[in-house]
């Protein structure tokens, strides 16, 4: 996952869960179930239940965002130079390859089988992290219930996080980093429970205009004017995919998307403007 996962308050060992999800959903291990599925375009493939559920969730997210979030961008991502784990550095670029064929993926729930169209390969990196945190939060909640207590935890996977506090506890302050100056805070929120995720074009970047958030329409790194998006939602996977979709859609459509989903968000433009949903106004404060 190449991500630092910080877990506090969960009285259950969640490391095996994160390792298991990574082993199934990584595209950087050629033996992973996802990699095997990606090599089998045009064929039906029986997949592990974890992969089946992740693909189903990704397709649902694509539908929810009108295709602005698209799990089929892997060809485009690799063509842009992001073909191996980020710390190993970019590779040579190829021709831009528009995506948008997520609707042609077929699922067979009775058998747990998936058929990708020929030439379509999936990247589940971002949503996979969100789904893993959601699952970890669910497990922490279940364990707390088994112990007869209220759940109270923070599970943070590289900035995509789930928060739950118990009655009487103070809320958790979530500091939103300034995308231009990661050592500085841009603003803070106080959250009693919920999920927050941030995506940015400035994070995984390997050249001018080259980053990991692909516009499915062009097959090129998104250039909507939004360089970072932070979304507050009920689930981390939803926050993560909405944040990516906002960066692809731009400010107006992104704001409308957040409103239609009942979520809150903060968008940062390339010129340094900060836009946020009206519902967030009373909840933002200075990061101190």
């Amino acid at each position: 996952m190449n991500t630092l996962v910080e877990i506090t308050g969960a009285e259950v060992d969640l490391e095996p869960w994160f390792r298991r999800v990574e082993s199934v959903l990584t595209r950087f291990d050629p033996t992973s179930p996802l990699s095997q599925l990606n090599r089998a375009g045009g064929s039906w493939v029986l997949v592990p239940p974890l992969l089946y559920r992740a693909v189903a969730a990704a397709l649902e997210a694509a539908r929810e965002t009108g295709g602005a979030y698209d799990p089929t961008v892997l060809e485009a991502l690799e063509a842009a130079g992001y073909s191996r784990s980020f710390e190993l550095g970019p590779q040579a670029q190829g021709l831009a390859r528009p995506a948008g064929r997520w609707f042609a993926i077929t699922l067979e729930p009775r058998l747990g089988a998936i058929q990708l169209p020929p030439g379509v390969r999936l990247d589940l990196g971002g949503i996979g992290k969100g789904l893993a945190v959601d699952g970890a939060a669910w497990r922490a909640t279940r364990e707390a219930a088994r112990q007869g207590r209220r759940p109270s935890y923070v599970i943070n996977a590289g900035g995509d996080l789930a928060v739950q506090t118990a009655a009487g506890e103070p809320p958790v302050q979530v500091d939103i980093d300034d995308p231009f100056h990661p050592d500085r805070g841009l603003a803070s929120l106080r959250l009693r429970r919920g999920a927050v995720a941030t995506s940015s074009t400035l994070g995984r970047r390997w050249g001018e205009g080259l980053h990991h958030i692909i516009d499915p329409r062009t097959g090129r790194p998104a250039d909507s004017g939004i360089i970072a998006a932070t979304v507050v939602a009920g689930r981390v996977s939803q926050a993560e995919t909405l944040a990516k979709a906002c960066i692809v859609m731009g400010d107006e459509r992104g704001m409308r998307l957040l409103k239609s989903k009942g979520c809150q968000g903060l968008l940062v433009t390339g010129d340094g403007s900060v836009l946020f949903t009206p519902g967030l106004e009373d909840y933002l404060h200075a990061a101190v």
């Binding site: 991500t3 009693r192 994070g203």
Partner: protein, 162 residues
Amino acid sequence: MAKSTNAAMAKLALGIAGVAALAGVTGRLAAANPPPPVTGGADAQQEAQTLGQDAAALQRSLDQGQRLGGAGDDHFFFRDDEGEGDHEREGDHEWEGDEEGEDDDGQGFVLVPPQSPNGSPLSAPQGGSQLQASQAASQLQSPQSGTPSQPVVPRRTRTRRS
């Protein structure tokens, strides 16, 4: 009645044939494209069910007295009206976000306003609010200090670009 039964049987037969045909396709293709091992069985299915699950929804179900699934949970109730084994504790009535006017609007999250008597210094034009990133830290209000002692989890975390 007989017609509808026959129709239902025909549909069932078609369904079985469809699955069989698909299984055949899968089996044939498996030779050329060996599928990943299916870590099948109930455990794998149960494991997969937790991926992307809504923890808040689970808690709401528990609050409504729903049993936990799985072995060993057969006798578990979060709230037991009969008293014996009652897990409800003092303060539980505050659980569903009834502090400080907060409300999750059914979206599964609860934001809490800053503890400031002055309210937000910002006005929200229709469609959202805007300020400069460089000014955000100074224009947005600061929270008052002071949090209850002995927190269960750290009361602060970060979300950052990824």
